[in-house]
Symmetry: C2
Subunit: 465 residues, 2 copies
């Protein structure tokens, strides 16, 4: 048992500052009170919240409390924490903002007091100025998350920003990305990235960790932890610029730290990779979580568009990977099924013949020993797809079953990049998820992210063995 | 009248190789035959297509033909072009592929023959290896486009790639981007980027031109044309790398040309800007098409997320713009309406108080003389928005009416960057388009593109005056 477990599997919960009016925390309060998790609302003014008896103080609850979620105004947080100590709770998530990040002495002092109480009492605290945690397996959340559409998977998130606890999860869910746990850590009076990296490194639900940092208070321990990570960690750091660094300071009260030191440390560690933005971070994590590691860096490209194929070639060169040179055998096999005008000199550009020629072509590519990774660029306009109706759906379903079989059989990663409307993307994603298989094929909208994922996975594999 | 007009306003059309089976060109054929445009199918084997009498040869059609669309296999295209000459058509769109891009002597020769016929007959030809044109005002298209959802607007596209004629238009339509005309030019036996830039430079429907080039055959004329452009042109060039350059050659048979020469020429011209990818190109074009030009480079950021605000600051520094320093007056006005924990040291980070404090804050920012451009970052998770229902919808509708009024009143550009689910994006886009006004507020998902748009518009304005 880790001390962190209480944040993901609390036996009982108190929400201090629970409210039934539309304000921050409303969704979490309603969700938890209606859920299987034993939850008590605490509100100094109300008798009842969403049909549940409300307590004036956490100390009044006639039952042991594992975890407290604090939502009250900044000036009331310290007292709430002291009450939690008296109640004997094990963990606290402080979501309230208005502490060190304001830059005002008064609020910095309150934060320091909370930190002191946490150290003395040994209560573990996440926050303040965060939205806490979500566990996608048991569906526990403090983060205004709905599980109606959420997907459980192998990507964990540690983030010094609330947006990564729900808003980017909303985005990622649309893209078919599944998560194990997300934790937003805010101003970090206690629990921080070091604690959580260690915890997730042994979490059986997690295969890859996405880490968004604005700064660290424990540089030495963090860099030491990086060395011991076995799972891949994708790190995004904000506040690179001077004005960005100031903005970071007024966001979570962190010092951004020296960017070059981070770069140097990251390069020394076999499982730490730096990414450039949130979308890139999630897309690459999705590939790590779902695809086998490639044993080489030769990429084959199967595309419906010559220009997008050329774009992918530019990116392959940019990332110092190589375009696979198909064997004579593969080329003659493909030539026997494609029209005379299809180009297979570099990328395999099937153009509009993709519907008839995709199957034998992708089989031949997976089988080719000169190919380590497969990039499949799907570019069909919305209207013809809609006109084809069930013919198109059956075609797509059939081919994703095939791709999944090939990924498993040949142990080569495959990413599909889809261009066009949201409708087209959903059409393809449904096809990819309809095939009844453990294997998932990532579908994304950026060629660059797919190529960088192949690169990082190749490097991770090389360092591992 | 320009010779190019026939491609957008043909009085009569013949589709050579028209078909009623699901293959390339099916959607265009069905659309045009069912439309207000007088259209004749030509098919050597069929009597009737979609209920319309089919002719064995274009010469058999008992009426003058303005424009021919050629869809037949590559080996039959030359004869079809010769038939068009005999029929006296004014323009031809050759969509068939399989010419110079194959690299095979036989097909290169056929293309050269087509080019020769075009020159001698003075028939204007777009293509081969393209999907032709779309006019979003009169709804004429040869590009498998549906107008069910398409939006007419002020962005024109010239592209050496079919994906920009429909697939990326599908994407852009989802994002609320409106177009005037799109033209894909393929292997360019005749009509090329030079002809079309000149044409669009005087097209009253077009305010900004997005140009995707793989290479040019008329470098001198192109660079001369750049000098004379009055409208902003966003240029994207593929084939930067060696392998990308080879892929470009096998895509449209173009030589990619020297990348550095392009950069040098672009820098000399006041209205030509280089962009890095398709999404960036369309997002920036959308801002040019809908927003007033800023007179300075001071950006104010109003955000619901501190980390996204910090990201925007990094980007402002990267682009050498500056973060607006709000006046004392603005600061005290904002402070009077926001909770004590809201940060306005750099970005204005309203956090979850955005619902109550947005209106007075955005008013104060637009009024501030230290502000030239406004970046509005919307980051609210899906679930609370859905729970709020009509309250949230009314709030958003109301605020987009306000933003539009402020953009018009103060003549300052505003871009909204929205993060989260597709549902959230649609929620906001509906609100933005519900307000009955000529002004549109671009909504996009990349902070970087918004900031680059401000930068390019500022530079364009500076060079203009």
């Amino acid at each position: 048992m880790s001390e962190m477990d209480v944040f993901f599997h609390p036996k009982s919960i108190a929400i201090i500052g629970a409210s039934d009016s539309f304000k921050f925390g409303y969704a979490t309060t309603k969700y938890l009170l209606d859920s299987k998790f034993t939850t008590f609302p605490v509100n100094i003014k109300k008798q009842e919240i969403h049909g549940h008896k409300a307590y004036k103080n956490i100390k009044d609850i006639p039952q042991e409390i594992d975890l407290a979620i604090i939502l009250v105004g900044n000036e009331f947080v310290l007292q709430a924490v002291i009450d939690c100590v008296k109640k004997g709770v094990k963990g606290i998530v402080i979501e309230s903002a208005g502490f060190a990040e304001t830059g005002e002495e008064k609020y910095i002092k309150i934060q320091e007091e909370i930190e002191r109480v946490s150290k003395e009492s040994k209560i573990r605290i996440i926050g303040p100025n965060c939205i806490g945690v979500t566990d996608f397996n048991n569906q526990f959340t403090t983060a205004d998350m709905s599980f109606d559409e959420a997907i459980s998977g192998k990507v964990a998130v540690i983030a010094q920003s609330g947006v990564l606890g729900n808003i980017f999860i909303d985005w990622a869910t649309d893209k078919g990305i599944g998560f194990s746990k997300t934790i937003t850590i805010g101003n970090k009076v206690d629990v921080d990235e070091v604690d959580l990296l260690k915890y997730l490194n042994t979490d059986p639900e997690t295969k890859v960790i996405a880490l968004y940092l604005e700064g660290t208070k424990r540089g030495k321990e963090l860099f030491e932890t990086f060395k011991n990570m076995k799972k891949p960690v994708l790190i995004l750091k904000n506040g690179k610029s001077e004005i960005g660094s100031k903005a970071v300071n007024s966001h979570t009260g962190s010092l951004a730290g020296n960017n070059k030191i981070y770069d140097a440390v990251i390069k020394q560690n076999s499982s730490i990779f730096r990414v450039n933005n949130f979308y890139e971070m999630f897309n690459i994590a999705h590939v790590f979580a779902t695809q086998p590691l490639p044993i080489g860096k030769k990429i084959a490209i199967i595309t419906g568009s010559g220009s997008l194929g050329a774009l992918a070639c530019d990116e392959i060169e940019e990332q110092r990977l190589s375009l696979a040179s198909l064997s004579e055998n593969t080329i003659s096999l493909i030539k026997s099924v494609i029209p005379n005008w299809v180009s297979i000199k570099g990328t395999i550009d099937l153009g509009p013949s993709i519907f008839e020629t995709f199957e034998p072509t992708i089989k031949a590519i997976f089988e080719d020993e000169n190919v380590d990774c497969i990039l499949y660029i799907f570019s069909v306009p919305r209207w013809p797809l809609q006109m084809m109706g069930s013919m198109a759906t059956n075609w797509a379903n059939h081919h994703f079953v095939l791709i999944k079989e090939l990924v498993q059989k040949f142990n080569k990663p495959c990413v599909c990049v889809c261009f066009g409307s949201g409708w087209t993307f959903d059409f393809l994603r449904k096809a990819a998820s309809s095939a009844n298989s453990e294997v998932k094929i990532p579908i994304m909208s950026r060629i660059k992210h797919a190529i960088i994922a192949f690169k990082m996975m190749y490097e991770y594999q090389k360092r591992l063995y």
